[in-house]
């Protein structure tokens, strides 16, 4: 039985359409600067991408999860291959001109494969976790999912695209959690990252090692697990400084600027300072749609992609921000509900992974505009201009709509 359009999950479709409309309006406004640039008419292109996305979502809506599950390994393999290809022949773009994030064919920039690879990773993880009857219980059980995420993660890190890499990690943890992995195991699994983050202060790192030791004694995992977790944390403490040195200067600067934007207000801190000025000067009701002076005078960097949210903050004020955040919250909660009601583990995991991916994008993007999180340069779903990411979001929404339809067909209508 093929799903029909009028049987679509109205709440999800409604919130997505609302977000897309809001986002398009913001993008239109972002182009209304005193000195016109290419951004002025970019909303035309975004409109075309939205149409493409609608078609893609509709196609996914018609695609059975079983077929999707079957096709998953191929999709994953293709994604990894394309990422490898990107690394070999990729080009930079926009503010990160020296990175290799784009596939370019004859001068035409086709897209950023990393965005679609996120979806492939979600599918692959969902397939693997669904095939297991039991949730991962030991670190050894986490090896395979780690490889699934690790390969594209490594390829993306090498581009380098730190923002997307963080999304991969978030997806991994979100889906492991949804599959029923115990929180303590996830903590042990993630502990080396904490060890790395704390390694910059010897005291903090020492305290963490002691705490970890106590937790290991309490949880009593396998001896080899405990030893390897401990070892990994100690190694992190050792490699932290060389690792820091290996980071590209702009990555170091972003982290430093996060801690104190005023260190270098003209260069590294510029983005954060200008973004906060735009948001803060908006006040409660904002300066009026398309009227924001920070945006008009091009003080906002990348105002059509990574920093589109300050345009909303400046022109529509706190009210506009709260509306946008509410729409994002509703979108995420809708996806969570669909994941809960899904008829099978694969579908459920897929939708939860999608929710995790979108939410990570939202948190990271909005968080960096108010200096709550370091700048990583990832797009805001349905707002930022960008074909690949919009396509990935549309495909994801299509999958979620199909899962919602399936669960409704099996009698999970109004529970």
């Amino acid at each position: 039985m093929r799903p029909r359009l009028r049987e679509i999950d109205r709440p999800l479709a409604g919130v997505v359409v609302a977000l897309a409309a809001y986002g398009l309006a913001a993008l239109y406004s972002a182009g209304q600067t005193d000195v016109p640039t290419f951004v002025t008419t970019i909303w035309h292109k975004q409109l075309i991408w939205l149409a493409v996305g609608a078609i893609a979502a509709f196609l996914m809506f018609g695609l059975s999860p079983r077929l999707l599950e079957w096709a998953t390994p191929y999709a994953y393999a293709i994604a990894v291959l394309v990422l490898l290809l990107t690394l070999a022949v990729g080009t930079g773009g926009g503010t990160a001109a020296s990175s290799k994030s784009w596939i370019t064919l004859g001068g035409l920039r086709l897209g950023q494969p990393a965005e679609l690879a996120k979806l492939a990773v979600i599918l692959m993880l969902a397939r693997w976790l669904a095939e297991r009857r039991e949730p991962p219980a030991t670190l050894r059980d986490l090896v395979y999912p780690s490889i699934i995420v690790g390969v594209p993660f490594a390829l993306v890190v090498l581009q380098p695209d730190l923002g997307s890499a963080i999304v991969f990690i978030a997806i991994l943890f979100a889906m492991l959690y949804w599959a029923g992995t115990k929180a303590s195991l996830l903590l042990l699994f993630g502990s080396p990252a904490i060890g790395l983050a704390l390694a910059f202060s010897t005291a903090a790192w020492g305290a963490w090692i002691i705490l970890l030791f106590a937790l290991l004694l309490w949880w009593r995992p396998y001896v080899w697990e405990g030893l390897s977790v401990m070892l990994a944390n100690i190694v992190m403490g050792i490699v932290a400084v060389p690792f820091w040195r290996r980071l590209a200067p702009y990555q170091q600067n972003r982290l430093l600027a996060f801690l104190n934007p005023e260190v270098d207000p003209r260069a590294t801190g510029w983005h954060v300072i200008q973004s906060k000025i735009a948001i803060g000067s908006g006040g409660f009701l904002g300066k009026g749609f398309t009227q924001g002076p920070q945006k008009r005078l091009a003080f906002l960097p990348a105002q059509h992609t990574d920093f589109i949210f300050p345009v909303v903050g400046e022109e529509l004020g706190f009210l506009g921000v709260v509306i946008a955040l509410a729409l994002f919250a509703v979108l995420t909660l809708m996806l969570l509900r669909i994941a809960r009601r899904a008829t099978d583990a694969f579908s459920s995991l897929c939708v939860f992974g999608i929710a995790g991916m979108l939410f990570t994008h939202i948190v990271e993007n909005v968080g960096m505009t108010v200096n709550l999180l370091p700048i990583t340069g990832i797009p805001l779903p349905f707002f930022s201009y960008g074909g690949s990411f919009l396509l990935a979001c549309s495909l994801a929404v299509g999958i979620a709509l199909r899962v919602a339809w399936d669960s409704r067909q099996s009698g999970y209508a109004e529970l």
Binding site: D34, G180, G280, S281, F284, Q294, S348
Partner: protein, 637 residues
């Protein structure tokens, strides 16, 4: 599929929802803080971000002569500046500008230095830009973000070098000057008076700069004049009316012997108003407007003739015979002599005093003279004895009282104090107690010795003679607080001194129309200052009409050989002022004594004549720029 049991899923769903709500809640709180609580701060930053202040320079006040003729005015000029941005983009823009504006690397460095001092103000690249350059830049302004060309009033001196020392000049305020109290409130890069009246009355001439705001984009391009922010209009400086008679000043410049170094000062003896003040050589004050070219500056400073130096107030010369009247006035005031008094020893070409022979300028001798004749003949022997009669301490005391040791307080910057002993302790300090003799009195009595006066100070002394005996501080705009210094002479005594001076000049007759029926009587005194570096400096100070003086004028000309050389210049100036037809001024016959002072006598007994310390001050003391050289060794002529 136990891990996907609905019960377990519900538990995880609750945690996931809680995470979502928590994160969104944190965001709402953070945005509330940023947009509502800190709104004011960020709105201000947003304004600062996009509004750039641009100073609107105030036009300086006009400077006019006593009849309202303009000495210093403002003409439209163009200033090229760049709106501030970060230093790299500024450098890049400057590099692109350099071929058009013709900036060399030194100037580029200066521009960047200016930027680093005031990073939020437009940085001036070029003041005083030519119109062709301005239009060339306007055509290409697309490639120069932040280029700002604004009309700016520019100082102009129509009579240029003629009034240079009087008016001074203007220039960009320096870092050091900005620290001074008189220049507080001057913005960086502002224009202030550097010398002359421009400096003296800078406070009122300067006015107050205005400010306007432009809205700029992140790249520093001017997007529009900001309508929202109010423009602060500049307040023009106060006009300055001076006592100068521009017509007379021009005449002085015209007849001042070309190529000669010296100065001429004319004032109204009854008020102290300066009518003309001229120092030669001059310079072009217009060259300083908008920054003087370093080469020209070096030439001005290294020139042997020191054109920047105002010789009327900044140079000291031994007064020579012009000072004899001071000795006469002091003796008269003390009641030691009358005009008919004779001295015990008649002039035989010199005076034997102790073991030394002090010569008179006239080797033949003047014979037995009364005071009036002694002044007319400028007899040194008479004045040697008069000096001894007054006594050194009385002479010094009276001379100090009259003001030979103090500045006149003329309202021009840089007036120097005359060199004159404040008392006999001066000699104790200079030579040691009891190591000097009354011979110093003899030197002093004829205007030699430790005595070097500025032209303005000498002219003020003659002003006292020309008026009722009271000193009036010479001034150009406002008189200095008046002192009650008087000569202390009776009207008869003053008249007698004038009469003696008339005999000096004899009769200057000038034919032609004039208020005095074509004839004026000029009273004056010549002087010749010994100069160890060459020909002597010549003095002449005179006033007219002698019975009721309206003008007193004095001149010093360096290396003029003798005072009489200077006299025609001064008399012609006086004649011009009094309306005598000066086209036939050469008809004015002036017979003057050639009273070249004898070389100064050594004071220290037993020391060789080439004693350096004794006559240290007997040459023009122009140590400030050292006009006459550094070695103060007197030489026999």
């Amino acid at each position: 599929m136990s891990s996907f049991h609905p019960h377990l899923l519900d538990r995880r769903l609750r945690v996931a929802r809680a995470v979502v709500w928590l994160v969104i809640g944190v965001f709402v709180v953070v945005f509330f803080r940023t947009q509502i609580l800190e709104h004011g701060k960020y709105r201000l930053q947003s304004e600062l971000n996009r509004l750039r202040p641009i100073p609107l320079p105030a036009p300086r006040g006009l400077i006019m002569d006593r009849n309202g003729k303009v000495l210093a005015e403002n003409v439209p000029g163009y200033t090229v500046s760049l709106l501030p941005g970060d230093e790299d983009s500024l450098r890049a823009t400057l590099r692109r500008l350099a071929p058009l504006v013709k900036l060399d690397s030194a100037e580029l460095t200066r521009v960047l230095l200016r930027h680093s001092r005031a990073p939020y103000l437009p940085v001036t690249v070029l003041t005083n830009a030519k119109f062709e350059l301005v239009s060339a830049l306007q055509e290409r302004r697309v490639i120069f973000p932040g280029l700002l060309i604004q009309p700016e009033p520019k100082r102009h001196y129509p009579d240029s070098s003629l009034v240079a020392h009087l008016i001074g000049y203007v220039g960009e305020v320096t870092e050091a000057e900005r620290g001074q109290r008189r220049f507080t409130g001057v913005r960086l890069g502002g224009v202030v008076g550097k010398d002359g009246l421009e400096r003296q009355y800078d406070d009122s001439l300067r006015g107050a700069d205005g400010m306007r705001f432009v809205e700029v984009s992140a790249l520093g391009r001017v997007v529009r004049e900001a309508g929202a922010a109010s423009t602060l209009l500049p307040v023009a400086g106060q006009p300055l009316r001076t006592t100068i008679d521009l017509d007379l000043q021009r005449y002085v410049a015209q007849i001042f012997p070309a190529g000669q170094r010296g100065a001429l000062l004319a004032l109204n003896p009854n008020t102290g108003e300066i009518l003309a003040l001229y120092s030669s050589p001059g310079f072009d004050p217009n060259a300083f407007v908008g920054g003087i070219d370093p080469g020209a500056w070096r030439r001005l400073n290294e020139s042997e003739s020191h054109p920047l130096f105002d010789r009327s107030i900044q140079a000291r010369y031994p007064p020579g015979s012009t000072w004899k009247l001071a000795v006469a006035a002091i003796a008269l005031k003390r009641g030691l002599v009358t005009f008919r008094s004779h001295m015990p020893i008649p002039c035989r070409g010199g005076l034997q005093y102790g073991t030394r022979f002090f010569r008179c300028w006239s080797a033949q001798g003047h014979g037995d003279l009364a005071l009036a004749d002694a002044i007319a003949q400028s007899c040194d022997v008479y004045f040697y004895q008069l000096g001894l009669k007054i006594g050194l301490s009385s002479l010094l005391e009276e001379a100090n009282r009259i003001g030979f040791h103090t500045r006149t307080g003329v309202d021009l910057p840089g007036e120097i104090t005359p060199e004159f002993p404040a008392g006999t302790e001066y000699y104790d300090r200079a030579y040691g107690p009891r190591r000097w003799t009354s011979a110093v009195t003899l030197n002093l009595a004829i205007g030699q010795g430790e005595n070097a006066q500025t032209l303005v100070n000498m002219v003020r002394f003659y002003q006292m003679l020309a008026s009722d005996g009271r000193a009036r501080a010479p001034f150009l705009v406002h008189p200095a607080s008046n002192t009650d210094v008087t000569l202390g002479l009776s009207p008869d005594q003053l008249a007698g001194l004038r009469q003696a001076m008339i005999s000096v000049v004899e009769r200057g007759t000038a034919r032609g129309a004039g208020r005095f029926g074509g004839t004026i009587t000029i009273a004056g005194k010549t002087g010749t200052a010994q100069n160890p570096h060459g020909p002597a400096h010549g003095w002449f100070i005179a006033f007219a009409p002698a019975d009721k003086p309206e003008i007193v004028a004095g001149a010093i000309i360096e290396f003029a050989r003798e005072g009489p050389f200077v006299a025609p210049l001064v008399t012609r100036v006086i004649g011009h002022y009094l309306g005598v037809d000066t086209t036939i001024a050469s008809h004015m016959r002036i017979v003057l004594p050639t009273d070249t002072a004898p070389r100064p006598m050594p004071i220290l007994p037993g020391l060789p004549t080439e004693d350096t310390t004794v006559t240290d001050t007997s040459h023009a003391d122009t140590t400030r720029t050292d006009t006459t050289g550094a070695t103060p060794t007197p030489r026999n002529r």
